[in-house]
């Protein structure tokens, strides 16, 4: 690495990670207003444990994101499998529709979805929120998995067929294991995108049912508590753990590196 490259890389790293480091430090700082001098304390963590609102909202967010990720990964993977086998205009059109969900601001999508759900009589609700969030994260799953499927050597499937595996068996024994790292990766991505998605949840969840982004929003309006820093630190730790776990489970195993 040249000196210039090193400077660029470290400044990018700094910009990306400095806010996170500040949040982690502040979660251990006694001051209510995030001021120095730093004095170590775990009081915000104990506040967090006592704050039912934050804990309930966190568990709602986790369950919602988990469900959405599971659904979106299943539907999205099936969609990607279909998409790579289609070369007609239908395929291109479906790409367009999926890209539109990424390109159109979530604000507009959220309002539009709410109107539709009201129109067909479902209105706000858990079901609406799940459907809305799945629709928003679906393109991420489809494009990630599709990229991997496109990169797979077609001869592998043909080799499998010639060795006596039916179409379904070669899919299960060859395609799925080889695409697994990207399927898991896309599930994680779907989870994170859904976990973060304030806008869609704001419009579609029943009034009064608050997931973590909505809870934090409502708390920040009335006054910021450093307990949120503590929560952020816990969430960060959880994310890092999940990533390490995925790496361990096989996504990074040498079996999947071509």
């Amino acid at each position: 690495m040249t000196k210039a490259q090193r400077i660029v890389v470290s400044s990018v790293g700094l910009i990306l990670y400095a806010p996170l480091i500040v949040v982690i430090i502040m979660s251990f700082n006694r001051s209510l207003y995030g001021t120095f001098p730093f004095s170590f304390s775990l009081k915000w963590y104990s506040h967090l444990l006592k704050s039912d609102d934050l804990l309930i909202a966190s568990s709602r967010s986790i369950w919602l994101s988990f469900g959405v990720a599971l659904l979106a990964t299943t539907i999205g993977t099936m969609f990607a499998v279909w998409r790579v086998s289609v070369k007609s205009v239908t395929g291109l059109a479906s790409d367009g529709i999926l890209l539109a969900t990424v390109a159109i601001p979530w604000l507009i999508l959220g309002i539009a979805m709410l109107q539709i759900f009201n129109l067909i009589g479902i209105g706000r609700g858990i079901v609406s929120a799940v459907i809305g969030n799945v629709a928003v994260v679906l393109p991420y799953v489809v494009f990630v998995v599709m990229a991997r499927l496109r990169g797979l050597d077609e001869n592998l499937i043909e080799a499998g067929r010639s060795l006596g595996a039916t179409q379904l068996k070669s899919f299960c024994r060859i395609t799925v294991p080889l695409a697994m790292p990207s399927i898991l990766g896309s599930a994680l991505l779907a989870f994170v995108v859904c976990f973060n998605n304030f806008t869609i949840q704001y419009f579609l969840l029943p009034l009064g049912v608050r997931t973590l982004p909505l809870e934090i929003y409502s708390q920040v309006r009335t006054g910021y508590s450093p307990a949120i820093n503590a929560l952020a630190t816990v969430v960060l730790l959880g994310t890092v753990l999940i990533s390490l776990l995925l790496e361990r489970l096989g996504a990074g195993s040498k079996r999947f590196r071509d």
């Binding site: 080799a159 010639s162 595996a165 039916t166 590196r257």
Partner: protein, 348 residues
């Protein structure tokens, strides 16, 4: 072990005719080669035999049984691909066991058969390695073992040596020949490499633009090409245009004002023909046809000598390197061509 027959197979992709009424037949246990340049339709034919493509018309028979509509997994055909196509997420052992597991064989049987297959291709030490830990040659040997462990009635080899470098290619070629001798599997090699086809196959089918140009024993493809195209495609040639003349009751043609006695279906008085002489049939000599040496290209054991005839025509000779060292560029010398080495073919 089986007999393969491809009967009158045609295949089009859109408006483009890829295969045009192709028929080939491989007797039980024989090793044949399908030789053609890229775009000749040879890979399409392989994919039709394997069952990945359906022909527009024609049938594929194995042991007389029509398998044209049988899905690939029930055809009992082993395939070795150019890019190996080993499953990257499975070890070599698991790769070879894949087909046996699909057939639901018992664990003991699988273990025995895989061990035997590994031994056949001498890969026992690499059994627990993943494909990307192996060299190209080892990968292809593993792919051969994976295909042969099922004892298929037919083995298809799709340019199996093209991805390897020259030295390994030679080794693996010999290895394939040995494995074929040991297993006696009916095999079809698809290749653009004439040397590979000539060395491995007992019979060669030359295919071009979806048409079978010649189907013959390997030595005849080179020695008696059916037409000018085959002559030019398989090996190097010297070509001369001439007219058949009647002389002393026999048909002769002339190269550089020398007469050569010829026979065959094209040897008709007045017929304008193309004469083909292989470079190794042109020997440098102390008398004969006068020539001037234009260029010498040493290629290790042999050398290509490019010569100019008196009439300005060019002639190529392939000689052993020591012979070429005795002459030099610009020198005038003589060459000899034996009448029996002059092949007479129709103009195209």
């Amino acid at each position: 072990m089986a007999r393969l027959e491809v009967c009158n197979v045609s295949f089009s992709y859109g408006d483009t005719r890829i295969l045009n009424d192709v028929s080939i037949s491989i007797p039980d246990g024989d090793f044949h080669a399908l030789l053609g340049s890229s775009g000749s339709g040879k890979t399409t034919l392989l994919r039709i035999i394997a069952g990945f493509l359906k022909p527009d018309s024609g049938t594929i028979l194995i042991n007389g049984e029509d398998i044209t509509n049988v899905p690939p997994e029930h055809r009992d055909i082993g395939i070795v691909f150019q890019q190996y196509a080993l499953f990257p997420h499975l070890t070599i052992w698991e790769n070879i066991a894949f087909g046996l597991r699909m057939r639901k064989l018992s664990k003991i049987e699988i273990t025995q058969k895989v061990a035997k297959a590994l031994e056949l291709v001498r890969l026992e030490p690499s059994a627990q390695k993943l494909p990307n830990e192996l060299s190209g040659g080892q990968k292809q040997r593993a792919a051969v073992a994976r295909a042969l462990v099922l004892e298929p009635s037919l083995l298809l080899l799709d340019e199996p040596l093209s991805a390897l470098d020259r030295k390994i290619r030679g080794e693996l070629r010999d290895e394939l020949a040995r494995v074929h001798r040991q297993t006696d599997t009916t095999a079809l090699l698809v290749t653009h490499d004439q040397e590979e086809a000539l060395v491995l196959a007992s019979e060669i089918v030359v295919i071009e633009n979806g048409l079978v140009r010649q189907s013959d024993r390997a030595e005849n493809i080179y020695g008696s090409p059916a037409d000018l195209w085959v002559a030019g495609f398989v090996g190097r040639t010297n070509q001369f245009r001439s007219v058949c003349k009647l002389k002393n009751g026999e048909i002769v043609v002339s190269i550089a004002n020398r007469d050569f006695l010829v026979s065959g279906p094209q040897a008709i008085e007045g017929n304008e023909v193309m004469l083909v002489v292989r470079p190794e049939e042109v020997s440098i000599s102390s008398d004969g046809i006068p020539v001037r040496v234009k260029e010498i290209r040493f290629m290790g054991a042999t050398a290509q000598v490019f010569l100019t005839l008196i009439d300005g025509c060019e002639l190529e000779s392939l000689v052993l390197a020591p012979v070429a060292r005795k002459i030099a560029v610009g020198v005038e010398t003589f060459v000899k061509i034996d009448s029996s080495s002059v092949k007479i073919l129709a103009l195209t």
